[in-house]
Structure formats: C-alpha cells, structure tokens
C-alpha cells in the first residue's frame, strides 16, 4: 500500500466516523417521536420506493426536476469512477472491471457534464433569478460548490492521469481526454505532482461532502429514500389519525411539543430538501399568510436539532429507570416555534403534499397542532368556535335550525329515507346544500338531473347532520367523532349502501373517514354519477345551446366558455379530474377553459380546513387570487363542483370582477339547464 493509501485510510476512518456519528444523532432524534407503524404492505412499499427514488417520479412535476434527475443519476455513475480513483490511490495499478470500459467512461463524462451544467442553472435560479421559494442560503451554496468542484477535480485528475496518451478506452471520457491533450506539454514529474494534488482534492471534497450530508438539508439524500418507503399508503382523505378519546390517562390529545409527533413525522423534517415546491403551491404562502409548508419543515427541524440531545437523554433515562421525568423544559411548539397564525392559515388543500418530491406529510402535523389548541387548551379563533357551537347545537356550522334542514326540498317532494322509499342512492345533501341559499340551488339542480335520468333516491332530511369535515380539520376531533357516529348509526339503521354527495368534503369524509366508525358505503360525487349516466345514455343534454324566449327571439341558454375550477377535495383528494370535465364537455357548444393552475396543481378557493369560518385578515384573499387566475382564460362562467368553492368564487368575482358578466355556476346547474332548456340557475338576466 502507498503512503497516500495509509494516510487516506486514516482520513477515511475519521470521516466515516463523523458521518456515522452525525447520522446516528439524527436517527436518534427521529426516534424521540411516538412510534408509528409503517411496515405493512412491504412489496407495495418497496415497489413504490424503486419507482419514486430511481424513477425520481415526483420530481418531474416541474422542469427543474429534470436537473435533479441528471444530478441523481450522474452521481450514481460518477460514484463508480470515484471508487476507481480511490482504489488506484491506495494500490497503484488497481483496476475495477469498469475502469477501462469505453462505454462507462463515455457515460460518466456525459453525465458529469450535465451535472455541471445543471448546477450552473441551479446557481443561476437561486442566486441570480432568486426564485422566492429558494433562499440563497450558505448551505445550498456549499453543497452546489462541493458537487461542482468534485466533478471538476475528477475531470482534471483523469486528464492528468491519461496524459500524455489516453488509451482507446480512456478516450470514452472525452472531457478528460481533452484535458490530457491540454496538459501534455507539462513534464511527467510535474504531471505526477499535479495528479497527486488533484487526487487529494477530489478525495477530500468527497469526504467533506460525506460528513456534510447528515448535518445539512442534504440529509435528504439518505432520509428521502426511507421516507419514500414509509410513505402513507392510505387514501388521501383517510390519513388523519382517528384518536381514541375515551382515555382519561392521556395528557394531551393534540401535539404541543416536538416529541408529540410520530417518528415518521419527524423523519419528514430530515427528508425535506428545501426545494420550496410546497410553498409555491400553498394558497396560504401565496396570499401573504404567515404559513409556509416549507418553513414548517425547516423550523421544526431546527427545533428538533436543538432539543434532540436533551430529549434523547430524557428518553434514555426513562428507559433505564434512572429518571422518570420527561424532558419538560422543551418549550411548547405553539408560540415558540410556530405561531397560531401559521397553524390556522392552512386550508388543508393538500397541494404541499401533492407537490412534495419526498412525500412529506404537512397536513397532519398542522391538524395535530390544531388539536392541541382546540382539545387541550380550548383556544381557537372565535369564529371557528362559533361554527363549532353551531354544529353542536344545530348540526351545521351556519347555525340554522336543524328542523329546517330539509326545507329546501319541501316543494320538490323528495323522498325522505325511513319515511319513504330509500331508492338506489341516498343523496347526501350536506350542510351548505341544505341551508345556504345559494347552494340550495345546486341541490335542487342535482335533484332535477337525477329525476331526469330516472335515478331513484332519497335524502336523510332532518336526520342528516354535518359530516364533520370542518370540525375534524379545525382539530375538533371530539365533535367530529360524535357527528360521525351519529350519522353512521342513522345510515346503517336505514340500510344505506350507495350514497351520492353534493359536496366533495362530505364525499371524502363519508368515503374515507366513516369506515373507521363502521360506515362502509359506496360513495360517489354527483359529477361522477352524472358522467356515468351520460356514458349510459341516460342523460341527453341535447336541448342545447339555443332556445327561444317567450318573445320568440333565439338566445343562448348555456354558457359557451366555462373556466373549470378543480376543488381540492374532488381533485387532489380523490384524483377525480375527469368526471366534471366530461360532464361539461358533453354539453353542446360548451368549451372548457383551463386555468394555468389546474388539476393536481389547482389552487384552493380558500375555504377548506375550516377556513370557511375564519376571518382572513393577513395578506390578500385566496379566493380573489383564484378568481384572478381563472379570469385569465376570459370565461363567461366559472364552473365549480363544491359549495365552498361556489361561495368563495362568487365572493371573489364580486370583488375582483366587478362590472363583468362573469357568473359562478356549479356543474350541476349548468347540466340541469341544458336538460330543461332553461337558463342555468343564476345565469339569467
């Protein structure tokens, strides 16, 4: 072995020890969290792991993801080259089988070049364009610099090694070959000195990078693959943990301290690559609220790094019985780390999780902290408290008397389950559709369409109560569970099997959250049912775009340009982007316009997560921002599928599109109008 080899091994051992130490520390911090079982469905987990990690699947949602793809694969190929470099430094003349392979060397240089170019683009984005989601942090600079010089030093080292005359195989590494030609003129001794220096530069950069990984955001290199493996396999709507609330021993039902999160939730913090995609799509961040899902991760991580040693020691003491007290000086997250404004700003739109390339789960963390505020402290925004009291007393957040819940359908003679025929479907109307004047028109349109298609159905009438969605999302799990139990008992008692909902929030709750309470139904959204009825030919929207007014004049009854707005709970939560579009496209003469942010990147209306009942004071209004995005398509009508969106979009249109003729209509209203030849509900003049 060369002397270089001996020195190298010493340095390597030190570097590996440091790496292992720092990594071990972080792993221990993660284990401070509550246990959470994520080892079910191993084959599925493993398959997804390969798909997301090696396919880099979630990165391609944006073009910059391509750069990451090349850096990722570049690194893997370059690693083989580096192994060879290290080996030949320790034992002169040692060669791995790939060392003299033309194809490998060619691939290595091509990828290295792409990585270098990619890094230049990233530096440009971060430091010159200064994309807001990417802080020009020192950490990012160090990482980019390390990678850049790692590759450059490799090029140079190989160049000096190949000089004066590269072998035919070495010529595959075309860049190194070019360098070798350039340094031909230097004396053999000079070249050898340079080669040695470059070897050390390359190797030390590599080891520096190794040690830097566990203490920087580049820990994601290690934690992200683990996170991919442990990702939630539950349907999106069903990921909120159902709490057991009868246990009086429990000190806290929500999360007030960092160790209250589960280990998986803490792993997220280290998996975060700080790419800022979540923030770019977050309606709160984008409308000037305190919350950024990215900062949520970074702040919690910094806090965990800081509290980790003490918590770890406390956990150890607990185990050995040396001390029983938990680490009580860990400050409450709320106030010290996260502000209440941040916690209440989230609309649970799920866009952060949809966009996050490392499968981080933001929403449950926010809900866990809300649970603490609501259930442990009883401290939440007054208006949200009023909504909760209304739900308790009247079964709906509006606070309209429960006895009047079915009044919207009085003149329609809709069968009430339990009193009349159950029919094929139970039509779950929801609170808005039952008590909000504007949304009632949508419920009536749905009834009209169902009757037109000959679908038999009934409603629960005054027995229907709020499904619980807003209560669960503001953190009032107790009230949610009371509602869920009562509704499930009613539905089961009536023998309901198939449900069609008006509201996508009800859809999500009934479909994904009620099974935990013994409610198993086939639940679909009305747009899904309508799309199916159209396919079956049971709905024929032929009475089309034109009709005759009483005075005989021809007029258009249907809007022709409809900007369709994907609601979060039908879109991202259910993945249902097609059915509503299919319904709209089935209408003669109707053109569906797409906003730039559409489908999985659609922008929230601002009302989810209980935000419907909270004041929106900071920044500008989410609904106005969304209306602005939709107006860019110059629509006549903004088409929605959710009562919250309907209310928010109408409000938004009133304030940002004053003086225009733009209307907000529900897909059901537009379809109903086409069936009857009437003007779409509020579309008339």
């Amino acid at each position: 072995m060369t002397t270089t080899g001996i020195v190298f091994i010493v340095v390597l051992v030190v570097a590996l020890a440091a790496f292992a130490y720092f990594l071990g520390q972080r792993v221990q911090y993660v284990l401070v969290g509550r246990p959470e079982y994520r080892f079910d469905h191993l084959p599925r987990r493993f398959g997804g792991f390969l798909y997301f990690v090696f396919g880099q699947r979630k990165l391609f949602k944006e073009w910059v993801g391509t750069i990451h793809f090349f850096i990722f694969w570049g690194f893997i190929v370059i690693a083989f080259g580096t192994l060879q470099i290290i080996a030949e430094g320790i034992r002169v003349g040692f060669k791995f089988p790939w060392a003299e392979n033309f194809g490998f060397l060619l691939a290595k240089d091509v990828l290295s070049l792409l990585v270098v170019l990619g890094i230049l683009v990233l530096v440009y984005l971060r430091y010159v364009v200064r994309k807001t989601r990417l802080e020009p942090s020192a950490e990012a600079g160090i990482i980019l610099g390390l990678i850049f010089f790692l590759i450059i030093s490799e090029f140079l080292y190989s160049g000096f090694t190949y000089a004066p005359e590269p072998t035919s195989a070495q010529r595959g590494a075309f860049l190194a070959t070019a360098i070798s030609t350039g340094v031909e003129g230097i004396s053999a001794g000079g070249r050898e000195v340079a080669r040695n220096i470059l070897w050390w530069i390359h190797v030390l950069l590599l080891l520096a990078f190794l040690v830097y990984i566990p203490v920087s955001k580049h820990l994601h290199l290690i934690m992200c693959p683990v996170n991919e493996f442990l990702r939630s396999l539950k349907p999106r709507g069903g990921q909120i943990e159902t709490l057991y609330l009868e246990n009086e021993e429990v000190e806290e039902f929500g999360v007030s301290k960092i160790q209250g999160f589960t280990s998986k939730q803490l792993l997220d913090l280290y998996a975060c690559a700080e790419c800022g995609r979540c923030q770019d799509h977050c309606p709160a961040s984008q409308s000037g609220k305190a919350l950024s899902p990215k900062t949520l991760m970074t702040k919690l991580r910094a806090h965990l790094d800081e509290r980790g040693p003490a918590l770890r020691a406390a956990a150890k003491a607990l185990k050995t019985g040396a001390g029983v007290q938990e680490d009580d000086d860990t400050p409450s997250l709320i106030g010290d780390v996260m502000s209440e404004d941040e916690i209440w700003a989230c609309t649970t739109c799920y866009s952060c999780q949809e966009q996050c390339p490392v499968q981080n789960e933001h929403v449950n963390k926010i809900i866990a902290m809300r649970r603490h505020l609501v259930m442990d402290l009883g401290e939440f925004p007054q208006e949200a408290m009023l909504a909760a009291r209304n739900v308790e007393k009247n079964g709906n957040p509006w606070g309209v008397g429960q006895q009047t819940r079915a009044d919207w359908a009085k003149d329609l003679e809709v069968a009430v389950a339990g009193q009349g025929e159950l029919g094929e479907y139970l039509f779950w109307v929801g609170c808005a559709g039952s008590v909000d004047d504007r949304s009632i028109k949508v419920s009536r349109a749905i009834v009209q369409v169902l009757r037109h298609a000959g679908v038999t159905f009934s409603i629960l009438g005054t027995a229907e109560k709020c499904c619980g969605d807003p209560m669960r999302r503001i953190g009032n799990e107790y009230l949610f569970q009371m509602l869920a139990r009562e509704n499930v008992e009613n539905l089961n008692g009536l023998g309901v099997t198939k449900i069609v909902t008006n509201c996508p929030h009800c859809l999500n709750t009934l479909k994904h959250e009620y099974p935990a309470f013994g409610g198993n139904y086939q639940v679909i959204h009305y747009t899904e049912l309508f799309a199916q009825l159209l396919t079956e030919g049971r709905l024929k929207p032929a009475v089309g775009t034109t009709g005759h007014r009483a005075d005989g004049a021809v007029k258009t009854t249907l809007p022709q340009r409809v900007a369709y707005h994907d609601s979060c709970y039908l879109g991202r939560y259910q993945g249902q982007y097609e059915a509503p579009r299919k319904v709209l496209k089935a209408l003669p003469g109707l053109e569906v316009l797409e906003a730039k942010r559409n489908r999985s990147k659609s922008f929230c209306c601002g009302a989810g997560g209980g935000r419907m009942w909270m004041e929106e004071e900071a920044g500008h209004r989410v609904n106005e921002a969304r209306v602005g995005q939709l107006l860019e398509t110059s629509p006549q009508v903004i088409g929605v599928n959710c009562p919250y969106c309907l209310i928010m979009m109408e409000d938004g249109v009133k304030s940002v599109a004053t003086g225009t003729e733009v209307k907000v209509l529900d897909v059901a209203e537009i379809l109903a109008a086409s069936l009857t030849g009437q003007e779409a509900a509020t579309g008339g003049h």
Binding site: L245, D376, L377, G378, M385, A388, R389, K393, Q402
Partner: protein, 258 residues
C-alpha cells in the same frame, strides 16, 4: 370564594318554538341546549375561581334530561352540580321556579350566586331577582363587568345610557349580560372529567318543598291564550336613483319616526 351558578336548559334558539294549545306550555321535545346567557355566568364564575380559588357549583331546575346540559357547565370547569328534578315542578312559573331554587340555595353555602340575565325561551328575566328577594340578598342585574377582591364585588351594570358602577358586599346575587366575557370552549380533559364530577339530583321531597307553591297548580300566573306572531313582511326597498334621501325621509315621516 364559593360560587353557585344557576343554569337553565332551554329549547334550542334556532328550533321552531311550539306551544301546547291547551296548557300553553312550551313543547320541549325539540333539541335543547344550555341557556346561552348562562354560559356567560359559568365563565364569569370560573374566572373568579381562577383568581380566588374555591368551588363553583351549578344549580339547575329541570327535567332529568337537563343533566346533559349541566354536564356542559361541568365540562367548562365547574366542580359539581345539583339538579332539582321532579314531575311536580313541571309548569312552574317565575315564582315557583324562584321558590324551588331559593329553597335549594338555602341548603348550600355560597359567597356569590350568578345568573344569566334571561333565558332564551321563557325570557321573563325575573327569576334572578325573585331568588335574591327570597334569600334576602343584595341583587345586581345586567352586569357587563365584574371584579372581586373576595369580600366585595365591583360591577358595571348596563343601562340604556351606559353603565353604572356599583360596589356590593358579598354574599350577593347577580345576573350577567350577554358579552360580559367570551365563554370558554370545553377541553377534552374538561369533557372527560365532567363525566365523573358529582351531580346530585334532588326531588321535591328532598328539598321539603311546599307543593302548593310549585308546578302548574302552584303557579301564580295563568297563560290564557297565545298566538304566533305574524311573519315579518318584506321591507320597502329604495333604489338609489338620486332621490333616495328624500324617499327615506318621507318613509320615516310616514312611520312617524321623524
């Protein structure tokens, strides 16, 4: 400081109120809630307890089902409760209610008794004063602010013109106005704990009540008839075409409001 809060179970404010056409008693089979005014009373008591220590006891007269709403006051943080429940009490008027409450209160120790200003169903607002009279205690109603050093009470009593400040020795009886505070939302600990807090149910015999003073039979008032208020008619809409100021003035003059 021991405080007793009197709370009433009322029919839900949003529920359609129906009267029985023969007895003219309120149909209570509709959803019931804790009288919203009494939540302010409970909150005020809890705030005083937080400052001065002591016990907060909830007292309610009502059907057995009222226990659910009494538990809500316990979930907010009250320590224990007494529910006066007996079929013989059904149909009691203000005097009957006040008599029963006062008799119960005489068996309890207290520094302060807090009432809501009025109930949202019976709405006479007379029970608190009647109880104070029967107990022979000072009484202050419609309070918008309350402070105590443990022996005296400093309060603001709301009037049409503003407020009047009073000092009052304890023990005393008070009733609080809506908005005096923001009633707390029960925590899970509170809800779970409330299930185990003592709730004593007392009947007429236990309190030794005089049957001739309670129930429909003992009522000093008799409801002879009642009718539904006519639904509100649509208002007059004045579109602004430049002459709206004149139109509004004419309207007000016609209604003899100007």
């Amino acid at each position: 400081m021991n405080i007793i809060v009197c709370v009433k179970q009322v029919v839900d404010t949003e529920a359609e109120k129906r009267l029985d056409p023969t007895s003219w008693r309120l149909d209570r089979t509709v959803p019931n809630i804790l009288n919203p005014y009494d939540e302010y009373a409970v909150e005020e008591a809890l705030k005083l307890k937080e400052q001065h220590g002591g016990q907060v006891t909830v007292l309610c007269m009502g059907p057995e089902g009222a226990a659910d709403d009494v538990r809500k006051a316990l979930a907010m943080g009250a320590d224990d409760a007494v529910l006066i429940s007996d079929a013989a009490l059904a149909g009691s008027d203000v005097m009957g209610t006040a008599y029963a409450l006062a008799e119960a209160l005489k068996t309890m120790s207290y520094d302060l008794i807090i009432f809501g200003n009025r109930s949202t169903d019976g709405e006479t607002g007379c029970v608190p004063a009647a109880v104070a009279e029967l107990l022979g205690r000072p009484f202050l109603s419609t309070l918008s602010k309350m402070e105590s050093d443990g022996t005296t009470l400093k309060v603001h009593r709301e009037t049409d013109l503003g407020y009047v400040a009073y000092d009052c020795p304890l023990p005393a009886v008070v009733s609080v106005a809506k908005g005096i505070n923001e009633p707390r939302y029960p925590t899970m600990k509170g809800i779970l704990g409330a299930k185990k807090k003592p709730l004593e149910v007392k009947d007429v015999a236990a309190l030794g009540l005089d049957i001739s003073k309670i129930g429909l039979g003992g009522a000093k008032t008799k409801v002879l008839s009642a009718r539904t208020a006519p639904p509100r008619t649509a208002g007059t809409k004045i579109e602004d075409d430049g002459s709206s100021a004149q139109k509004i003035a004419d309207f007000l003059a016609a209604e003899k409001l100007l």
